[in-house]
């Protein structure tokens, strides 16, 4: 909540400095993000779902010391797989949604697996490979929606609409809030519990904290643990893609993600990589972005101002952490 206050403060500062009509802009932002039941349930929360899922993906990887910048590409891969399954298998009945999500997770893991393999076999830095794979995924989607997956009229660069049975139900009738919201919450708690209480989760954290000590003192298979974490991270990002496709867009197109995978890095860092914290920061970012659109639409203030606020928040949190470790208890002095 303190974060929200700091965000508002920064925004007021930026609006004033850039000479915008601060009052009008703020009220547009607030009403766009939380001004009505519709704004909350159908804009802010819906927007927070992919951010939360992709944020969980990023924080899991970062916890293991893997700099997975590729949640965006893995999310797209998940969305593609979900689209394909929804189209080729519309007759699975109640199994449709689980199968679609499983396909999304698998595709996300596969996409991350390419980077994991490159890292393991050739020592390619995952920061580079995952960023590049993001573009490959984006171009791949572009090809698919103009080729094999294009809708029947061949006019728009987008896929078929997926069948009703593959669409996520609304969890509150009359709103756009879909099942993905609950999936994100359950997944966050699951991840929190797994990291804290399971041997596998501990190994992942140990490798992230000090891989050499994990190998020597813990006799942990670092390569194996790292690969598993990478694949799991990709799978969660893939779920984000499947959820967005089956819960919001219902068809595949190039701009299905306005950079959720990148914003997710901010979401994860701001939450200090804590799974439950990710839920909070995803909500904050969801609200900020929902409000930013309203601000641009209703008050004519460019929505990039909100991106600046997001960036400043990260810098503040990181600088704060750094400051704390520097001034943290340094007990020893002398030889």
């Amino acid at each position: 909540m303190a974060l929200g206050a700091v965000a508002m403060l920064l925004l007021v500062l930026l609006l004033t400095v850039s000479g915008q009509r601060t009052g009008a802009a703020l009220s547009a932002l607030l009403s766009g993000a939380a001004g009505s039941w519709y704004a909350i349930s159908s804009v802010t929360l819906v927007r927070a779902v992919p951010l939360a899922l992709a944020g969980l993906a990023v924080s899991l990887a970062f916890r293991a010391g893997i700099l997975n910048i590729g949640a965006e590409g893995q999310l797209l891969a998940g969305a593609v797989a979900a689209t394909m399954i929804s189209i080729v298998a519309p007759q699975l009945g109640f199994l449709t949604i689980p199968v679609v999500f499983f396909a999304g997770a698998f595709a996300g893991a596969f996409w991350a697996g390419i980077a994991a393999l490159l890292r393991q076999k050739f020592g390619v830095l995952e920061v580079i490979s995952t960023i590049m794979l993001n573009y490959v995924a984006l171009q791949g989607v572009g090809y698919l929606v103009r080729g094999p997956l294009q809708e029947p009229t061949h006019i728009f660069p987008q896929s078929f609409s997926i069948s009703k049975s593959a669409q996520l139900p609304a969890i509150i009738p009359g709103t756009r809030l879909h099942l993905g919201f609950l999936i994100a919450i359950v997944l966050a708690f699951l991840m929190w519990w797994w990291l804290r209480d399971r041997a596998g989760g501990f190994r992942l954290r140990a490798v992230g904290a000090n891989a050499r000590a994990a190998a020597s003192a813990g006799q942990i298979n670092v390569a194996r643990t790292t690969t598993i974490a990478f694949l799991m991270s990709g799978a969660i990002a893939g779920v984000a893609g499947a959820s967005e496709l089956t819960g919001v867009t219902f068809s595949l197109y190039e701009n299905i993600s306005p950079g959720y995978g990148y914003t997710a890095i901010a979401v994860a860092l701001l939450a200090r990589l804590h799974p439950l914290g990710v839920l909070v920061t995803a909500l904050l970012f969801g609200a900020l972005e929902a409000g930013a659109n309203a601000m641009q639409r209703d008050a004519g203030v460019p929505s990039v101002l909100v991106s600046v606020v997001e960036a400043l928040l990260i810098l503040l949190v990181l600088a704060g952490d750094r400051w704390r470790t520097r001034n943290g208890a340094r007990t020893e002095s002398g030889t």
């Binding site: 000090n210 050499r212 813990g218 298979n221 002095s333 002398g334």
Partner: protein, 487 residues
């Protein structure tokens, strides 16, 4: 020796310094005569390094004065100190690994850098002092001993007349230490002065003219070396009550080698190891370690002991040979920050690291917490609790935590590598005690230390490793020392 009546080379008088609320130095006094080696002894945190950092202008004292050659001096920075002829070689090297020797020596000087001039300078210093270095060699390619020489040459290039050496032998093999200390003796005999900060009483007794002992920031003893005994120095360093706790030399009773019936715990037969660039590090090593004995390995740096220890600890697969080791082996690596601890995590998490690789299912946090508090109590780890961030512990307490962790659940075997590196007497003693207790409980212990005396003191049997070849040796300092050098 310089004629009496010459002013003292370096005098620090009533120097006081606080870090926050902690008094690191409390009216400490030091008087270094010209043409002498002056040893400064003290436990970790006694203020030795802080005092010398003040003499080198890195730290400003809160009170007290500095005199160089009889004149009052005020050093606001190391360049002031260098200008007055005071130089310091730090415990942790301050060299740029990617640069050459000449470039490193030139660092900090003014004007245009002409490689040839500096190369000549390095060679001149080499021929004048015996500290020979190849000026165009990259620091990264040099062995530790040569890097140490480069540090000293760096100071000498500034015409330093008072040289402060902070634990100079900590990183050196015995032969290199010997060489350095002998050089230091000659440097002082030529009329200049050396301040030697050290943990090692023996080095002080053998090489220094005078000795000053600091305890808790205050000077507690200052005499010429002929007037003090080893035990006087030890009790000055530790305070009266602790004298009995240190055993110097190998007075510990000789334990007979285990009878043939003793159970073999670690067995290696013709074990070899070739590293990734094809160099054979361990060559047909054969070794049996029995229940309830400490086997010491003596070697100079890079003789293959690092790899052998990891093979024995089950942390490294040998390239060839037959190896039989138990499942649970404790391992204490020499670099605790890199290889043994997660500094950003709590003590409990670090204790949980043990056996994490084989663990299935839930993490048993309640029992891990109990195990951690037990280690804290049994090994006297000074900390505010099991949830403390491990980074905040001092080196000695971190090491006690590691030893406690590796000895929990009474493993069949324990392999330790330089277990007391960088620790003070008190911490060293407690680590030694823990190793002996483990041995008495039946654990098979393998120890390597770059400090030969430590190996001799702790071990029941001794092996010497030289260029990858392991041979058994008798427990004789001279014999072992020679074997380490391959003669």
């Amino acid at each position: 020796m310089i004629a009496t009546g010459a002013p003292d080379a370096l005098v620090l008088d009533g120097v006081t310094h606080r870090f926050g609320n902690v008094k690191a130095l409390d009216a400490a006094t030091l008087r270094v005569k010209a043409g002498t080696v002056h040893a400064i002894l003290g436990e970790n945190g006694a203020g030795k390094t802080t005092l010398m950092r003040i003499a080198f202008g890195l730290v400003q004292p809160d009170a007290g004065s500095i005199q160089v050659n009889g004149a009052v001096a005020r050093f606001l920075s190391p360049s002031d100190a260098l200008a007055a002829g005071v130089g310091m070689v730090h415990q942790h090297f301050t060299l740029v690994p990617a640069m050459t020797v000449a470039e490193n020596v030139a660092l900090g000087a003014h004007g245009r850098f002409v490689a040839k001039q500096w190369a000549t300078r390095v060679r001149e210093i080499g021929s004048a002092t015996g500290l020979v270095l190849n000026p165009s060699a990259l620091i990264a390619d040099l062995p530790v001993g040569a890097q140490q020489r480069c540090e000293i040459v760096k100071a000498l290039a500034r015409d330093v007349r008072i040289l402060i050496l902070d634990e100079p032998t900590a990183v050196l093999a015995p032969a290199e230490s010997q060489e350095l200390l002998t050089w230091m003796r000659g440097f002082a005999d030529s009329g200049r002065s050396v301040v030697l900060i050290t943990h090692k009483l023996r080095d002080a007794l053998n090489y220094a003219d005078d000795v000053t002992v600091l305890r808790r920031g205050a000077t507690v003893l200052s005499r010429t070396i002929d007037e003090v005994s080893e035990s006087e120095l030890a009790s000055a360093m530790l305070g009266q009550d602790r004298t009995s706790a240190i055993a110097i030399g190998s007075e510990s009773k000789q334990i007979p080698p285990p009878a043939g019936s003793a159970l073999a715990v670690l067995t290696a037969q013709n074990v070899s190891f070739r590293d990734s660039i094809g160099v054979t590090r361990v060559q047909n090593a054969s070794l049996v370690v029995h229940q309830g004995e400490i086997v010491g390995i003596a070697a100079i740096e890079g003789a293959g002991q690092r790899e052998l220890l990891r093979i024995l600890a089950g942390r490294l697969q040998p390239t060839s040979g037959i190896l039989s080791v138990p499942k649970a082996i404790g391992f204490v690596p020499e670099d605790r920050h890199a290889d043994a601890l997660m500094l950003s995590e709590s003590l409990i998490e670090n204790v949980a690291l043990r056996d994490a690789g084989a663990r299935r299912g839930r993490m048993p946090w309640p029992s891990l917490r109990k195990a951690t508090t037990d280690i804290i109590a049994n090994y006297q780890v000074q900390t505010s609790g099991a949830d403390t961030e491990t980074r905040t512990l001092s080196g000695g307490n971190q090491q006690r935590l590691i030893v406690g962790r590796e000895l929990a659940n009474a493993p069949a075997a324990l392999v330790v590598e330089n277990p007391t590196r960088g620790l003070d007497f008190r911490a060293t003693t407690s680590v030694h005690d823990a190793l002996r207790k483990a041995r008495d409980r039946g654990t098979a212990v393998v120890i390597y230390s770059s400090d030969l005396d430590e190996v001799l003191e702790l071990s029941d049997r001794i092996f010497v490793m030289h260029t990858g070849v392991l041979t058994a040796s008798i427990r004789d300092r001279d014999v072992v020392g020679r074997a380490m050098l391959g003669s």
